[in-house]
Symmetry: C2
Subunit: 756 residues, 2 copies
């Protein structure tokens, strides 16, 4: 679609002030920690000091006798889950693992693993009592990295664990293992493909465990009422997901739980698992009082899901004229203390930017003594992009081809079959490469010593899933929009704008509210870049419901047949010049047929997928190894940018997080498995002093699956940065970095090694 | 409809535990006064010590300088309303009157009239500062009763006021008056009717000003946000009505206001006007902080709407064989300090129980120096029932006819045209009289000295109006019902039961939530006995929306045509024995087409009307005049009793309030207009020591306007008691009481007068 035949929108593409803006800048917005209830108790948790140990005994007697203590819970208080596998919206989940991650039962699997929780009259009493719980551990050797965990003599985390094979069967071997799952996708004939290659590059890569680093720590408050109904106030990416997780963990009907979503201070995938809600609920049940727990920052690092560190072996072949012939890879992701990393996504993303005629990719989900990993912005994709995008750079170097030309020549497009099976619909990979090729940044030569420019592309699936909304027309010509999607990146406004566009009114005339789980239909998590797409579809459906009701009402008022009445551009028009604007019909609703109320619900299909291509200029200090980002431009297929400012914000935020992965961020464990940098001072995230302004190019290839062509935009901008920076470092100082983060010591080491 | 051909229901007619029961009995339910917000200020009000005075000057200087004071508002802070008449859901409202009743401008019209409000850091500072506001009054003579107010030399409350005539025109006379409105309804030829009468009885009656006496005082908290959006937390019978009143009073768009309805500790019509919300909103705007005000009990009595005291002249004619031939009446209601009593309802109810071939009724709305009156349970009907039902008793005495036979012979029925115009549909007046005639109480002779039995009937219109709901099906087979009707008498459950019946599931499987004004479509007040009827219709509509979606989904799953699929008795059935229960489809929704969400909205027509007939046995102590209620039975046409316990509760509560009107309750003013009994100790309401168990007979004449035949039940039980008790007193001691309350001194006075 070109600019000429693109629909002309009135609201979409404008930049109204966000509906929740004033609340957030004035401090009025209420976050998870802001909940205060009458009679509320404060909770504290006892966490494991060991990375791997058996729990022989927990003695809570002394703690229970301490002043102000009202309740104590341990893993024994949670219902036994047996071998239940439950579909939790985000996928099939082993309930035993989920439960014992919330409160350990027989073993602890990482430093900081929750062992017990206390509720007391104040936080000081609770913390003192938590320390007074005596736990008798039998300390075991930990294993902290995937290759160590796959070694024959590795310490075994779960004695019963056997590998689930690519066919979905569980191996019947008697040999204990830490490898929970082995995935395998094959396309074409890989041997034949490599035989056709003129150049083959193969390397191993490592990426670090990194945390989402949201500012707001996890916080939850629960009240278990005398009638068995439970209310939970928490910051979460998915109130309905918390509801279901808690229901399944506590064996109560999900409709007995109401989750009130508070404002969220960042999530990035890390606020999907319910760590605290089941704990505060049990403490409330035991004490009869509301109970609140706010995690410490150390607990957030130690015990809430980072993204998997990884080991990747990648072999890629291409012809001399720049055509990929074959790819072969093995990817091992740290699952953390329990099986269930995002390995499936990593496997799917590895080759997705390209037409790879012959491919094979194996994925391994490996348990290690680190916190249970979870989603983090395009989960699994940044790791694999680091591998493939640097290998492509090396191939281009060998065949003497420009990296953008190579990417254009191999770009996935409509009809391309991915190595893992699916066939792409309308996508914009090629357009993002062209956008970089044409941009001022790329066309400006980079000069200076120890400077280099790198490019890289990235891919994210973009999810669909379930969303519901309702809406109510007010007599003053406004619409109350009731939705259930946590607003992380401005979705109140991007959804309100879609309703406004549908009805032909202003964005300000739509007032969005994020309701609790009793106040709106089901919504899957805010994640996977799905909300503006899928909840947006539900919003458009609700808007059409209003249109249809207004048409029927106008026909009634005019006493004409409904088929002669139409909703057009903010008005209802009928025969004989009859016309009533939205505002006029809204004003008349109460004295005619009654209130206009509407609903929309979807189980949205997957989207067309998001692609991004980034270019970065760096300068490397050869004496310290420090990499300075000089300039950064991100081009991305954003489908249709509903609110361009928020799209740009997602691209900038994603790029900065990717820069953090690239240069500094990592979990730093000592040999006992103790995390040594569980603070924001020591876990080094980029600040505004570390990055230039991230320039953005919005490429709009509308997704035909959505009425306005929306494409999720939040995930993919994190994928290219590590590879792009690695490629830039190579151009700057001639070294190939294959391990993240590319922190000063590592870069210095490589530079010195090359010079020597 | 007889018991045999009546529909057989599974849920309707059963008595499940109310959904909000545990919260209320454990003290967890949050009422208006329970709101606590960060940084919240506490407010206090300065009220007029005079019943009638000009405000010459208000000096807030000293108060503003006092410790902790953050804001002061007076009537000058409210926008000028000019002569705006606004349709406020409950009827056309003069905004100047409403505004100056909230905060007086130039004059005060009753003791306790609000003059200024203060917000301070704590309630003690606020109260002290309120006292420090200096108001310079020019005290005027008050007039406290309707007849005094209509006298030629009466003090005039509003110099500009002229009477609105029955044709709706305002008189152009230059003579000031306190009579705001004169209504007139005529039917047939009244002179001719009285000429046909064998017996004519004519008397004058007086009823006292009485208060609804809800336990919870008015309370409101507001936060005026920096973006101009206002949130109000308050106990109210109509959150949307508070929203609109406040918007109109403050000249802000109604969609800028969100009203969060708290639980309500009684309303009975008295929690419809917004006394506090505009005040706390203005205090919040000025202070930038949330502000809460809770009224004192004295303020509730002095300044919130009681029901009008009245003066009634009634003349009724009948033939010797007990046929009413004509009626003629003049009814004057105290409006209070501003025009706008419920005189229209009183006029409509007077003759409504009977076929009156020739009738004339004149109504007068008269301003007096008492608080602005408002609705109170069957507003206006109890006053007029006292008149007509005692006159009928006297006619029956004169013609020697049994009161029930007389009522049966004259009972209004389908097709009866009321004197005020409308024609009745299907109603059950006759059936309530028959129910009393057949009941054990009435068939048991009353024996003993100074004992008497009385009967009386009563009528209430029952309102329809606007209601909206939405609903969401949960995967565990339950339904979240989102409604906006304040739950005063168990409507969460009576609505949930209607949805359960529609869907063929249990009442417990429906979980009702009363949402705020941003969370659900428009709903008129909980009042007029309209909620179970009108909101019930919206609920049934939402249920049918779910049925239709489930039918479509099942057709999709079975791959059959939708027209071959039907929803029956909690299941969807299709061809070839296909069948999925509600629970099965609910469980499958997420993996098929997505969530089931539904909506319903109505502008419901008026109902068929409610009728009641009561019988009471009393014993009069001739030495003190004290009347003891020995036994009481209420029969009422309840349409279809959704939850019989709550219907019985409404009948019992209404009867007890009517007993209060009958025997004790009244506003006691001294000659200066100072209310001397503004406490629950001195304003004597019946307690459980004063009344026996109220026996109830549920007569079910389904209303064809409602899918389940619902008829409002909350209002009419208050109407018969004063007349029934007066008739019983007559039988006991031979005196005719024509003034309420029939308190011991008055009864004693009459008894001694008769004996002398």
């Amino acid at each position: 679609m070109t600019a000429l035949d693109r629909p002309r929108y009135k609201v979409i593409g404008t930049r109204p002030v966000r509906h929740d803006g004033v609340d957030k800048v004035t401090g009025r917005a209420k976050y998870g920690g802001d909940v205060r209830l009458t009679g509320m108790l404060y909770g504290a948790m006892l966490r494991s000091p060991h990375a791997h140990a058996k729990i022989k005994r927990i003695d809570t007697g002394q703690a229970e006798a301490m002043p102000g203590v009202r309740a104590v819970v341990t893993g024994q208080d949670l219902p036994d889950q047996g071998d239940r596998i439950v579909e939790l919206g985000e996928g099939a989940t082993n309930m035993r693992y989920l439960s014992s991650n919330v409160l350990a039962r027989d073993k602890v699997f990482y430093t900081g693993h929750a062992v017990a929780a206390i509720a007391a009259d104040n936080i000081h009493q609770a913390e003192a009592a938590a320390k007074a719980i005596a736990v008798d551990y039998e300390v075991l050797s930990p294993v902290l990295d995937v290759r160590g965990a796959m070694a024959d003599d590795a310490p075994i985390l779960h004695d019963h664990l056997r590998t689930t094979s690519p066919t979905g069967e569980t191996e019947t071997s008697d040999t204990p293992t830490n490898v929970a799952t082995r995935l395998l996708h094959e396309k074409g004939d890989v041997e034949k493909g490599f035989a056709e290659a003129d150049v083959i590059v193969e390397h191993e890569f490592e990426t670090a465990t990194v945390h989402q680093g949201y500012i707001e720590p996890h916080a939850a408050t629960a009240h278990w009422n005398a009638d068995g109904k439970i209310t939970i106030w928490t910051s979460t990416q998915g109130a309905f997901t918390v509801r279901q997780q808690t229901a399944e963990l506590l064996h109560v009907p999900l409709s007995h739980i109401k989750v009130v979503p508070m404002e969220i201070g960042g999530g990035f995938g890390g606020k999907i698992p319910a760590y605290l809600p089941p704990v505060v609920a049990m403490l409330s049940k035991k004490s009869g009082r509301p109970v609140k727990i706010i995690m410490t920052r150390a607990a957030v690092f130690q015990a809430t899901g980072p993204t998997p560190g990884s080991w990747i072996r990648l072999k890629l072949g291409a012809t001399r004229d720049g055509r990929i012939t074959a790819g072969d890879a093995t990817i091992a992701f740290e699952a953390g203390g329990y099986p269930g990393s995002v390995i499936g996504a990593g496997v799917g993303c590895l080759f997705a930017c390209y037409e790879v005629p012959h491919g094979r990719v194996e994925g391994l989900d490996v348990c290690v003594n680190r916190p249970r990993t979870t989603a983090y912005r395009a989960p699994g994709s940044t790791q694999v992009a680091f591998a493939i995008e640097t290998v492509i750079d090396e191939i281009c170097e060998q065949i003497g081809m420009d990296g953008l030309e190579f990417r254009l020549g191999n770009a996935a497009q409509e009809g391309t079959r991915r190595v893992d099976g699916p066939v792409f619909g309308c996508i914009g990979m090629r357009e993002t490469v062209e956008a970089i090729r044409n941009c001022e940044h790329y066309r400006t030569p980079l000069e200076g010593k120890f400077r280099g420019r790198g490019i890289a592309s990235g891919y994210w699936f973009n999810a669909g899933m379930r969303s519901s909304v309702s809406a109510s027309v007010n007599t003053d010509g406004t619409v109350s929009l009731i939705e259930g999607s946590t607003d992380i990146g401005g979705s109140r406004t991007s959804l309100a704008m879609q309703l406004a566009e549908t009805l032909g009114i202003t964005a300000e005339a739509v007032m969005p509210t994020v309701a609790d789980t009793d106040g709106v239909g089901y919504n899957d998590v805010t994640g996977g870049s799905r909300v503006t797409f899928a909840t947006g579809m539900a919003v458009v459906e609700a808007g059409k419901d209003i249109q249809q009701q207004m048409v029927a009402r106008a026909a009634l008022i005019w006493d004409v047949e409904e088929r002669h009445v139409h909703y057009t551009d903010g008005s209802v028009e009928g025969p004989d010049g009859h016309r009533l604007s939205f505002e006029e019909l809204a004003a008349q609703q109460m004295t005619t047929g009654g209130p206009f109320v509407a609903r929309g619900a979807v189980n949205a299909p997957g989207q067309g997928g998001a692609f991004a291509t980034h270019v970065v200029d760096v300068e490397v200090d050869p004496e310290t190894g420090k990499v300075q980002i000089l300039r950064y431009t991100a081009a991305q297929d954003v489908g249709t940018a509903i609110h361009p400012s928020y799209v740009e914000g997602q691209m900038q935020g994603g790029a900065v997080q990717g820069i953090g992965w690239a240069l500094n961020e990592e979990y730093w464990y000592d040999e006992t498995g103790d995390l040594k940098n569980a603070t924001f001072l020591d876990y080094r995230m980029p600040t505004c002093y570390d990055v230039p302004n991230i320039e953005t190019i919005l490429v709009e290839v509308p997704d035909p699956a959505h009425p306005f062509g929306v494409r999720g935009v939040g995930e993919v901008p994190i994928c290219p940065p590590p590879a792009a920076i690695a490629n830039a470092i190579h151009q700057a100082v001639g070294v190939r970095m294959r391990q993240l983060p590319m922190s000063p010591p590592r870069v210095l080491d490589q530079v010195m090694h090359t010079q020597s």
